[in-house]
Amino acid sequence: MTIRDEHIFEATKDLYSWALRRVPDDTKAALSRARETETNETARKTLNMMLHSAMAAESADRYVCSDAGVPVYVVRIGTKADWNANIKSAIRAGFEHLVETIDPPLLKHVTNPLTLERGYHGKDMPIITYDLIEDADYIEIVCSPKALGSGRWAAMELFTFPTLETIETYILDVAIKAGSQHCPPTVMGVGIGGTFDYCAKMAKEGTLREIGQPHPEPMVAAMEKRLYDAVNQLGYGPMGTGGDTTVLGVHINYAAGHGFTPVAVEFNCWINRRSIARIHSDGRIERLE
């Protein structure tokens, strides 16, 4: 059997729906840990409400947030996968089907940036990026619905031969600018280096990394740890009403570049929407998250 359009279609519509209704396990665990260590009483209660909301959504099969965001899919194609599918049009069809059938219906969030008209459809929607996984015999699709609430606070700057001090100051200042507004505690994805477009992609990948998985290089892992502590010391807290828990993880990716060094920062709000399916070469769809 071969991976065909219908498998991509199935995975696409299910992934979006799952992402809206279920807070990932790593995120719930991080919120639980934060609840144990948080010293601000209001913040502890807010963390408790977050966990309660996550569980209520899951058990009642409802949305955690009313803002379904826009559909964003990352497709990772195994180079040894057996596939013969029009991936792009199958994803588009999967999303169209979801919009027509999902219960309860979605709010209209897809926005034409030139006219501000909002609906379910729009140019280049869903947003899809593609990657290869060497030697894998499956296709993985990640769904990461993205909304204004946290999306608005992403930022990017280009430096020339920056020191680590310059880079870390910038990252801290982006967190300060977002302040109380992006439904903290967030996951911060950071990209450093590469080119403009590649840097933004690395930041995005950072937001998708499992919480508690440090970067494999000790130097970067140490940077993640000290920035995590630094951002949490700012005191914004859960929902920005004060506390020790402003960020659940700082996930940094870097790439070599030229002397110009882009630094990109992106946030996922506390519900950290992310769902992943693996489509095996026999057509079987495995839900990873």
Partner: protein, 204 residues
């Protein structure tokens, strides 16, 4: 936890303290739309009444999915949106209607806090990503106005019971948790940067 019955008087909210958590029962008006705020401002400027009375009301930045059924409108879910998007529009609305309770998530700026202090109103922080909790407080849809707009932009009046818990984030004297936290963060910044420098030096 204190439950406030709406409509609330100035005295009902006067002693609420920053960080207190409350629930609300009674009528509230919600919208998540900038165009809706513009229409409200148009009403103020032209002297026309708003389709739903906002005088001393509880007015929240909540997006809701409303749909028309045989028995009128029903709300399937609702959740807060970022209030700071309405910073420029809210002072005038707060002052004109003497809003008693406003809210959403992410807070409002100093000018809005000042306006709240003048009229004796409070800002309440809702849980973002709290749709299951927040939606379960809805008891009745009273009115849906401006239904030519997309669902979450409409002006909707609802009856709620024990809506919350909501965190008092700007009090009736105009004191703001957001302003306090922003100032504290700004004051801590230099020390945090020094700490980062020390940690970098220790690992190199």
């Amino acid at each position: 936890m204190r439950n406030i019955t709406l409509p609330a008087t100035r005295a009902d909210v006067a002693d609420l303290k920053l960080g207190d958590m409350v629930t609300l029962s009674g009528p509230i008006v919600v919208t998540a739309g900038i165009p809706t705020h513009h229409r409200i401002i148009d009403c103020i400027e032209s002297g026309k009444p708003t389709p739903i009375d906002l005088q001393e009301s509880a007015f929240f930045h909540l997006g809701s999915y409303s749909q028309e059924t045989e028995n009128g409108f029903e709300i399937l879910y609702m959740n807060p949106t970022t209030s700071t998007r309405f910073n420029d529009l809210m002072p005038r609305i707060i002052r004109h209607f003497g809003l008693r309770c406003i809210g959403g998530k992410g807070g409002l700026d100093a000018e809005c806090a000042k306006a709240l202090g003048e009229v004796g109103g409070v800002y309440l922080s809702f849980l973002g990503g709290g749709a299951p909790i927040i939606s379960s407080a809805i008891r009745q849809i009273r009115q849906v106005a401006w239904d030519d707009l997309i669902s979450h932009y409409r002006l909707v009046e609802l009856e709620v019971e024990a809506l919350g818990p909501l965190t008092v984030a700007i009090d009736a004297q105009g004191r703001s948790l957001y302003q306090d936290i922003d100032e504290t963060a700004a004051a801590k910044r230099a020390g945090i940067l020094e700490q980062l420098a020390r940690q970098r030096a220790a690992t190199q």
